[in-house]
Amino acid sequence: MYSQKVMDHFMNPRNMGSLAQPDGVGRVGNAKCGDIMQVELSIQDDVITDAKFKTFGCGAAIATSSMATELVKGKTIQEALQVTNRAVMEALDGLPPVKVHCSLLAEEALHAALWDYAQKNGLEIEGLEAPVEDIGDHH
């Protein structure tokens, strides 16, 4: 059902945990649909220096959180915005169709964390919109 990459990121998640002093925190999803993702970012001079996640959800949800945080580390904010759900899926060698929403959730969690950072610092990030409260039903 899952690719080897997905299994690897599920069994050995990268960047799991939280940061002592995150610059941006995003949490999306809900318990109703069964997936909740939280992403925390450290940002210095426009560059994401660290990223951590915590996820309540299925194997794909955990693997996409792991991969998404891995992909944005070391990137500038503008580069991180290019890390779409498609990019996360590709990096994982694909996901079963019913699990595509997990990758959307990962993208949304990243954006929510960046939005939080922008709000806290009175910044406007080009191309970033306010996070959707509940994307659980976008399937």
């Binding site: 949490r27 318990a31 915590k54 309540f56 299925c58 194997g59 019913v98 699990k99 399937h139």
Partner: protein, 396 residues
């Protein structure tokens, strides 16, 4: 790695005794039971002997047993066959919110075709209320369909009491006994059951064989039209080998039931109590005693079922879950939601079902590995983090 199998409610391996018994029917006795020559008549005889066995185990008569291709077919046939036959009399059917989809989807199909269906609630243990059942009966009610044992939580319904109510009101009573046959005592006479569905692969017979018990005189239309098999009620050349296997498995299960129930109940209780003790914030789903001997269903707060199953699988253990992710939809199990569980706890459910091959060592192995799996996933869970922060604040 050898799989440690804890999913007997999903399916079971064919028992050796059954396999040995049915082998000749694939080759030596391959005849069509409808043929008049010796080879055909031998196959015919095997089916009729099997029918006697099935009837004896259920407490019914031989001419009341009809072989089908699976439990789902039996359920479809019972509901649609009776609905069609009695539509002049009434258009109301009563069932429950926790039925298997073979019943639920058939009931919904009938709703699209002019029938009204009452879906009875269940309490937190999964039991229907007999009072509500009786209140739901109207002059238009033609059928009550209540499952004998639930496939997810193992809860056993009071069949005898339901049968008495149905009888008193002159309404037919169908029970989906797919999970019950071979595992708990059933008697269609004592329980006043008019129709009963069963399936072979839940008790050590092959997949793709089932039966419907139909009390003599029950108005019902045939389901599969064609040849004259099964007294013109269910066409199709009989699955002779599997029919023989079903009867063998039912006879064995009946003989061994008392002993096996005692053995499994001990193992089940060890598993349930051990997990409750070792894993904080966990709960049992389903009735604690009115329960299939081999069913253990628990919810673990703050974690999700599919990820538990994947880590169990990595440890060589096969189990199942009521989480949405394992059902291919966004909603978790309708059964767990009907018990009143929150979505979160329904997503965090795991079902272990024990069977003939289950040993105490296997139970011990689950007790050894599952607490670490849940702890590991809780470490990852933002919900657990919230909970820990909250308890910390409260204790400060």
């Amino acid at each position: 790695m050898k799989t440690i199998y804890f999913d007997y409610a999903a399916t079971s391996p064919v028992r050796n005794e059954v396999f040995e018994e049915i082998k000749p029917y694939f080759s030596s006795f391959f005849g069509n039971p409808s043929s008049i020559y010796q080879l055909g008549q031998e196959a015919k005889q095997a089916i009729e002997t099997a029918r006697q066995t099935v009837a004896r185990v259920l407490g019914g008569r031989t001419d009341e047993i009809f072989f089908t291709s699976c439990g789902s077919e039996s359920d479809n046939w019972a509901l649609r066959g009776v609905a069609e036959a009695l539509q002049q009399k009434g258009n109301h059917i009563i069932t429950t919110k926790i039925e298997h989809h073979a019943v639920l989807h058939t009931a919904q199909y009938l709703e699209r075709h002019g029938f009204t269906v009452t879906y009875l609630d269940v309490d937190q243990d999964g039991l229907i209320s007999l009072e509500e059942l009786e209140k739901a009966i109207t002059p238009k009610t033609i059928l009550i369909s209540v499952m004998a044992a639930n496939n997810e939580i193992g809860t056993l319904q009071p069949l005898k009491e339901i049968g008495a109510i149905a009888k008193r009101h002159g309404v037919l009573f169908h029970t989906d006994a797919v999970q019950a046959v071979g595992h708990v005592p059933l008697d269609v006479e004592e329980m006043q059951i008019d129709l009963l569905s069963l399936s072979g692969h839940k008790l050590g017979a092959p997949k793709g064989i089932g039966a419907l018990y139909i009390r003599k005189g029950t108005p019902i239309h045939p389901f599969l039209l064609g040849g004259g098999q099964e007294k013109k009620q269910r066409a199709g050349t009989e699955n002779v080998a599997s029919i023989v296997g079903l009867a063998k498995a039912m006879a064995l299960a009946a003989e061994e039931m008392e002993e096996e129930t005692a053995r499994l109940t001990v193992l089940r209780e060890k598993l349930i109590n051990g997990l409750l003790e070792k894993i904080p914030h966990s709960q049992v789903n389903g009735h604690r005693t009115k329960r299939l001997p081999g069913n253990c269903n628990l919810s673990f707060a703050f974690v999700e079922g599919e990820s538990i199953l994947m880590l169990l699988d990595a440890a060589g253990i096969a189990a199942s879950s009521g989480s949405a992710c394992t059902s291919g939809s966004l909603d978790p199990s309708h059964v767990l939601l009907a018990l009143g569980l929150s979505h979160e706890l329904a997503h965090g459910s795991v079902r272990f079902t024990l069977g003939l091959g289950t040993t105490e060592e296997e139970v011990d192995y689950v007790l050894e590995v599952l607490p670490d799996i849940v702890a590991r996933l809780r470490e990852m869970s933002p919900l657990y983090e919230d909970f820990m922060k909250k308890t910390k604040e409260e204790t400060v």
